[in-house]
Amino acid sequence: MVVRTAHLTLTLRGDSVTEGIAIADGQIQFSPQWGMIRGNPGMLASASLQHGELDTVHVAVTASGVALVPCEDAHPQKELVLVLQYYTGCGAKRWPSFHVEFGPEVKILSRAGTSGGSGGEDWVLVSAPLGWTENIAGQFVDGRDEGDQTIAYRPSFDRKREATEQELAEARDELADFDQVWQMAIAKEDDYLILSFRQSTHPKTGDRQWEYTTPTTKYVVNQHGEDQPESEEERWACQKIRVLVNKPRFQLVVVDLIYRESDRNEISAEIKELESRLG
């Protein structure tokens, strides 16, 4: 009895996974976005379907190549993945290339590639275990200056856990930054200060503004800054950014708000919550 394993078809390009594999003229057509086809790119697979999209298929390896037969009702036990590997060309060279290190968990069935032009693509059709495609896609970072990436399958890779670990590292960095800024503000180093503000009116425009006044200096909160006070009780670590009036007996100084005193508790609570999530 011939055993046939139903394969769920997926197309993988960088961090993008799309369901299905497109068929035209009874074949998976090689249509790269980078590079050019001058010669014969190679046959990826033929299909009993002339045009359309394959969903679940049975896969046969013949002497002439791979043949795909749709089997819509079958329950997929593996993935048939069209991996669109690429390296970018003219105009996009700061964007990362995408390649996969195929391990023993996959069976490479066929491949097709470009043969010239700017950039290039190498498409590989593989039979892989369920979840393989999402695992690879989850590891790829498609960002400018991220560098070329060759991704290997990591069964232990957990996208959510890695994201949480990243968040935790950022929160810890922020807490360290808070402590450093607060200490500098206490010591009044590098134009850092600790102030609390009250609402007042701009003497010329009549606009509402937050200010802190001493007998010789008025500190005004930068209206275009990211943060604005919400109450008069709050204490802020702030930094002088501009001296508008500088007379022997009076200074008018614009400040940016850096951290609210209560921010430390919020960051600490976030760290505890993330730590408990990671277990």
Partner: protein, 174 residues
């Protein structure tokens, strides 16, 4: 027999007219070219009539004979296997079956004729004949079915053969 010509790899075979525009019958055809590193074969065409057949004389010279012959599933074909200049590209008639070469000549590149060229032949194609030619970048398969020529890329051929194989119960299922 009809006479076809594949002027260059990748071209569809075209039927050759054996008379000029003013109706003057063509007296010979040639394959290959003359010069250093090259060879040329000249095939005389004799007789009168709409049909064409090939004949080898007692001295071993191949001639084409005009006349009235019955329908024939075979055809005559001039195959030029040489594509565009490329120092490393191999030009010949690959994987031929059902092809009987009658006369051959060679083409070459450059005055010295030392750079890789290839052959041009006059051949008889039997029904079911197939062969492959390289152009500068790509390859194409040619097939004669007894009535007409067809061409396909290696990818299309493999796709067709793979489906035919599984229809016959072949192939290894994953």
């Amino acid at each position: 027999m009809k006479l076809f010509e594949i002027g260059s790899p990748g071209n569809m075979p075209a039927e050759v007219r054996l008379s000029s525009d003013d109706g003057t019958p063509v007296k010979s055809i040639s394959v290959g070219s003359s010069g250093r590193g090259r060879s040329e074969g000249i095939i005389p065409i004799v007789g009168e009539g709409a049909g064409l057949s090939a004949k080898k004389t007692e001295k071993g010279v191949v001639i084409l004979v005009r006349g009235e012959f019955g329908d024939e599933e075979r055809c005559l074909v001039i195959i030029d296997s040489v594509g565009g200049y490329d120092r490393h590209r191999s030009y010949e008639i690959f994987d031929a079956s059902g092809i009987e070469t009658l006369v051959s000549g060679t083409h070459a590149f450059g005055d010295a004729g030392r750079v890789n060229g290839g052959e041009e032949v006059l051949a008889i194609a039997k029904p079911g004949a197939t062969f492959r030619l390289n152009s500068k970048y790509a390859s194409h398969w040619y097939a004669w079915d007894g009535k007409e020529w067809s061409m396909e890329t290696p990818e299309a051929r493999k796709a067709r053969l793979a489906l035919e194989e599984i229809e016959k119960g072949g192939g290894e299922w994953l």
